[in-house]
């Protein structure tokens, strides 16, 4: 497998007046094409900062991000990014939000309508196409955001704690939906979470980050798919991995 997305000694600091906050230091990671990598870390350890850099939204203070062996200098439509907070346009209904990436690409109205409608249906929002984001629940907004990200047909998906704010039941449903979607689409996924179980359930590989984005652990997850959360809980491989990840996270705190 070839490395699709690579970071080399990536450092990001935020300067304010005469001091700078370092959020990420010398971060080096390589992600293979077609893999589902979950990134686990406590809040404030630089996960969002890392994804913003991978998406090309922010400039690194030092180091570089390489995508398909090219230096990434700005956002790339091949890389879809589902940010931690919702960024649906509040003045557009669900359908018009979902078709936005196609609109910007200049796809004719009839065609993008059709694609958007299929995606909205696919993420389970059929019948809510005309609703404005504020009229939707948090889970429905996440679905709409996911549909919008997919509308751009990216080959790489970056996701920042996408289901973090949802209740357990809903999170489970959306995780399954995501796995089904990725299975069909074959995208490469970098999925950030602070939930150990979610990291194991979804990923082919889990990376644990400590402070300043230091990589504490980088472990393949060799559990057969499809994985069911209920069965996994009693699986010895899962239990061992869970324990190890929990211990690593705990040590990171010290």
């Amino acid at each position: 497998m070839t490395a699709l997305l690579q970071t080399k000694e990536l450092t990001k600091q935020f300067a304010k007046d005469d001091v700078a906050t370092v959020a990420l230091r010398d971060f080096t990671l390589s992600i293979e094409e077609g893999s589902f990598v979950t990134v686990l870390g406590r809040s404030g350890c630089g996960k969002s900062t890392m994804l913003n850099l991978l998406a090309g939204l922010t400039e690194p203070s030092a180091g570089e991000v390489r995508y398909r062996d090219r230096r990434l200098t700005g956002p790339d439509t091949e890389i879809g990014y589902l940010t931690q907070s919702d960024t649906l346009m509040p003045w557009r209904g669900v359908l018009r939000n979902v078709e936005m990436p196609l609109e910007i690409r200049g796809v004719p109205a009839a065609e993008r309508r059709e694609v958007a409608a299929a995606l909205v249906e696919r993420v389970g929002l059929g019948g809510f196409g005309d609703h404005y984001p504020r009229e939707l629940s948090g889970g429905m907004r996440r679905r709409a955001s996911l549909a919008r990200t997919l509308a751009g047909n990216p080959s790489t998906l970056l996701m920042d704690e996408p289901f973090g704010a949802l209740d357990a039941q809903l999170r489970r449903e959306l995780q399954e939906e995501l796995l089904a979607l990725v299975q069909d689409g074959g995208q490469t996924v970098v999925f950030v979470t602070h939930d150990i179980e979610e990291a194991i359930l979804l990923g082919d590989r889990v990376v644990v980050l400590g402070g300043l984005g230091r990589i504490l652990l980088d472990h393949p997850i060799e559990l057969p798919r499809p994985r069911s959360a209920d069965e996994l809980r009693v699986d010895p491989v899962f239990v061992a991995l869970h324990t190890e990840l929990a211990r690593t996270l705990k040590e990171a705190a010290r």
Partner: protein, 282 residues
């Protein structure tokens, strides 16, 4: 692209909302509105009746005139064309002044707020100019533009400009960074960001500016006429007051309020159309 195959659980199963038709009677639909309007009407009738009774009985009629005289004066002016001539002049001044000031203000607001260095440099000067009472500009404007319609149009435009400018600029500078990034992620350039995020996001600010500016357009035009003119409703007020014709003054004020109400109605309609996405109350 993914097809709709393997459709996942519909959102309804997440115990989300279900849409049902709500049958409402005429009263449920319009009851509150009807009550409010009938109370308003009652209030107006009561005030007018009290005024009519009080005039000349408790208060000198030279000071407060009375509703029947005012109606009579309006009818008289409507008959001989005075009303239409002067109203038309004032309406033109208000509308031109408003349009000119609003267009310039919105444009300047969008452009300057997008160039943050320029905005920071100019900000204190703009605030200083904004703080000048626009009435104080009237004499200067007479020198520059004469006592014709231009002077009133520009006086109205000067006030409208600042209100629309400041509100637009505030709206532009408040735009959610996340939304801008979302468009950048979709491959959008600066132009896409401006058109698809900044303009719609700042629409609320622009409309607030337009709304608060309406009475000022009217004030600007009428002040201009009061200071120097021989036509328009401001002139009519001056003329009537000079002859101690309070009925004439009040009649003119009635016409001015009607014009203001009509202008507010127009902005209200635009507001409704643009802000449909705002949270639904109740």
């Amino acid at each position: 692209m993914n097809t709709a195959e393997g459709v996942v659980a519909p959102a309804g199963t997440e115990s989300g909302p279900v849409r049902v038709a709500v049958p409402r009677t005429w009263w449920q639909r319009h009851g509150t509105t009807a009550t409010v309007w009938s109370l308003r009407l009652t209030l107006v009738v009561a005030v007018l009746a009290l005024w009519e009774v009080a005039a000349d009985r408790w208060v000198d009629i030279t000071f407060i005139s009375k509703p029947s005289d005012i109606v009579e004066r309006l009818a008289e002016w409507a008959g001989d064309g005075t009303l239409w001539l002067h109203s038309w002049i004032t309406v033109q001044e208000i509308v031109y002044g408003f349009l000119l000031g609003a267009a310039a203000g919105a444009l300047a607001g969008f452009v300057l707020a997008s160039l943050s260095l320029v905005y920071r440099v100019l900000d204190p000067f703009v605030m200083a100019l904004y703080s000048i009472p626009k009435v104080a500009l009237a004499p200067l404007f007479i020198v520059w533009f004469g006592i014709g319609m231009h002077m009133k149009v520009l006086l109205a435009a000067a006030t409208v400009f600042f209100l629309v400018f400041l509100n637009t600029a505030a709206g532009v500078r408040d735009v959610d960074r996340g939304l801008v990034d979302a468009v950048r992620l979709m491959g959008g350039n600066r132009w896409h960001v401006a058109r698809k995020v900044v303009v719609p996001a700042s629409m609320t600010g622009v409309l607030t500016g337009l709304k608060v500016a309406i009475p000022y357009a009217l004030i600007g035009a009428v002040i201009g006429e009061l200071v120097a003119s021989n036509r328009g409703l401001g002139y009519l007020i001056n003329d009537a007051a000079a002859q101690f014709d309070t009925a004439g003054v009040f009649a003119t004020l009635v016409v001015l309020s009607i014009i203001a109400a009509a202008l507010n109605l127009v902005v209200g309609l635009i507001d409704k159309r643009v802000n449909r996405w705002k949270p639904i109350d109740d």
